[in-house]
Amino acid sequence: SGGASAPAEKKTEFSIGWSIYAGWMPWPYAQQAGIVKKWEDKYHLKIKIVQVNDYVESINQYTAGKLDGVTLANMDALTIPAAGGKDTTAVILGDYSNGNDGVLLKGATNLSAIKGRSVNLVELSVSHYLLARALEKGGMTMTDVKTVNTADADIVGAFASPDVTAAVAWNPQLSVMRAQPGVTQVFSSADIPGEILDLLVVDSATLKANPDLGKALAGIWYDTVQLMMKQDASGKAARAAMAKLAGAAPETFDSQLKTTFLYTDPKAAVAAAQSPALVTTMTRVRDFSFAKGLFKGATSADAVGMAFPGGKTLGDAQHVTLRFDDSYMKLAADGKL
């Protein structure tokens, strides 16, 4: 079980969980295309890429110590493993949602029409956060709407029901829902760029004992994203394969990629990790989470400590459980992997 204090031993076999989301499809593709194998051989270790169909369950499995790393959003990294006392390090800042999350209304084209409606969304998720930010920007508060928790697998079906008129969702569901007649996207993550981040996190103790794991993961990641972003046949084939793995048509997948700001260049990722905007974002996220009671039993938003590149911290510096580590991305940027 993964506690911050648990001494991790050196090992050679690791498992990384992923679930279906446009920004995370490079992982299974890397395995399929042999990129994982290449980096495994280089660092003499084994990395199992494990699909977990249910996103929440993949995080739970990581928190419970059954996975060494997992793909997740910044907010969930904070509220689930980190708030649960599991010392977690974000190794890769993969992308930010640039329209992959959105607020949809039926029969209205303006955000202000949301007032008084029931909004279906996955409560306490980034959708909830997005809704809060949307309301804030529209001069409203959370009390102006009523939220109905809706499972992400069922939200498309639910939105097809006539009595559901407002919803917040992410891709791929979002694009299907938006395609319904009479539906307008009135707010999206493109309106708050860089706030919804998608990360690859690894258990801090494991990483400390096995720094090669971080290097291999960074190697795999940048190899893969650089391949998929090529505008030639090989890039197209890679994207088509990813679409298939996600159960989507290639065109749908491409359109989802358009609303995903992928940090294909490690330098950009390092810059984003070092930027003070990250601290601002995380402050917003944790204030929202604390207000929603996601820091179980804590008396203040400072209960969970976060560390950023360059020694900056946020919250309880004595109990840092979420670390943004840019060193592996930097190695990639410097070509030293």
Binding site: S1, G2, G3, A4, S5, A6, V56, I59, N60, T63, A64, D76, T79, I80, A83, G84, G85, K86, N120, V122, E123, L124, S125, K146, T147, V148, N149, T150, A151, D154, V156, G157, A158, A160, S161, P162, D163, V164, L294, K296, G297
Partner: protein, 271 residues
């Protein structure tokens, strides 16, 4: 004394029945304490103190929607859905089970359909349910009913169908028509089995209730469980599940007692 004849006293039965449950609780406690020694903020196996605190919170916090205390509001909402869903399923089981079991033409016409519905996993077709019934209470209640009714219908139909043929003949010689045989011969003899079927359906009914509340809801025990699952708050989930189990066991005991009281003839050993 052969085991088969070894009837325990009431006291011994309580002790024997309690022992494995207490043992499981002790195993849980020991494991939880160990985990907490390793990681004081372990979420997976919360300590009783943590659970008490979490539940106290829910017992004292009013639900923003209804103004009632969260815990009771959840309980009430879930029990209402469960009661309606099980009630509808019971009604179907009784009516269809009797007709299918007693009347060969109805059996021929409906039993393939019921078998078909029984084997279609309803959660796979949720979107169709949403379109037809919306996302409100109806679809939750219908999901429970569709989930448990087919098993109950088939159980009652099989039971009625296996009533001794002599009883039917006897009733016919006494001037009973099909309807009278159904209401006076088949129905009363199906009742104890119906109660047994409800008892067996309680577990699956909770499963479907929780699934329904997980899909789309803003109140209910299943809603809360799936909501807090997002941050692995086992300190809420475990007491909620224990509470569900307690409610279900109470219902089970009440049903068993009702059957013994209302249908004494079904519980006397035949002579």
């Amino acid at each position: 004394m052969r085991w088969i004849n070894w009837h325990l006293s009431k006291r011994d039965r309580l002790i024997a029945g309690g022992a494995p449950i207490v043992l499981l609780l002790v195993i849980y406690l020991v494991t939880a304490v160990q985990r907490h020694a390793a990681n004081p903020s372990d979420k997976i196996l919360p300590l009783p103190s943590g659970m008490a605190k979490a539940i106290t919170d829910l017992l004292t916090t009013p639900d923003p929607l209804s103004g009632h205390l969260v815990f009771w509001a959840d309980t009430l909402a879930s029990l209402q859905r469960l009661g309606l869903g099980l009630g509808i399923a019971t009604l179907f089981a009784l009516v269809l089970g009797l007709l299918i079991g007693a009347l060969p033409p109805v059996r021929a016409a409906l039993s393939p359909l019921v078998t078909g519905i029984a084997v279609i996993p309803p959660i796979a077709l949720l979107p169709i349910l949403f379109i037809a019934l919306g996302l409100g209470e109806t679809s939750k209640i219908v999901l429970i009913a569709i989930g448990v009714a087919p098993v109950m219908v088939r159980d009652i139909a099989a039971h009625v169908g296996s009533l001794p043929r002599e009883q039917i003949i006897k009733a016919e010689t006494l001037g009973a028509n099909s309807w009278q045989i159904i209401v006076r011969v088949a129905l009363p003899q199906a009742m104890p089995r119906l109660i047994q079927a409800i008892r067996l359906a309680l577990g699956p009914a909770w499963v479907f209730l929780i699934s329904a509340e997980a899909v789309a809801s803003d109140i209910g025990l299943g809603y809360r469980i799936f909501l807090v699952r997002r941050y692995l708050a086992m300190d809420v989930i475990i007491p909620y599940v224990a509470w569900i189990a307690l409610l279900a066991i109470l219902a089970d005991l009440v049903l068993a007692a009702t059957s013994r009281r209302m249908f004494p003839w079904a519980h006397e050993a035949a002579r």
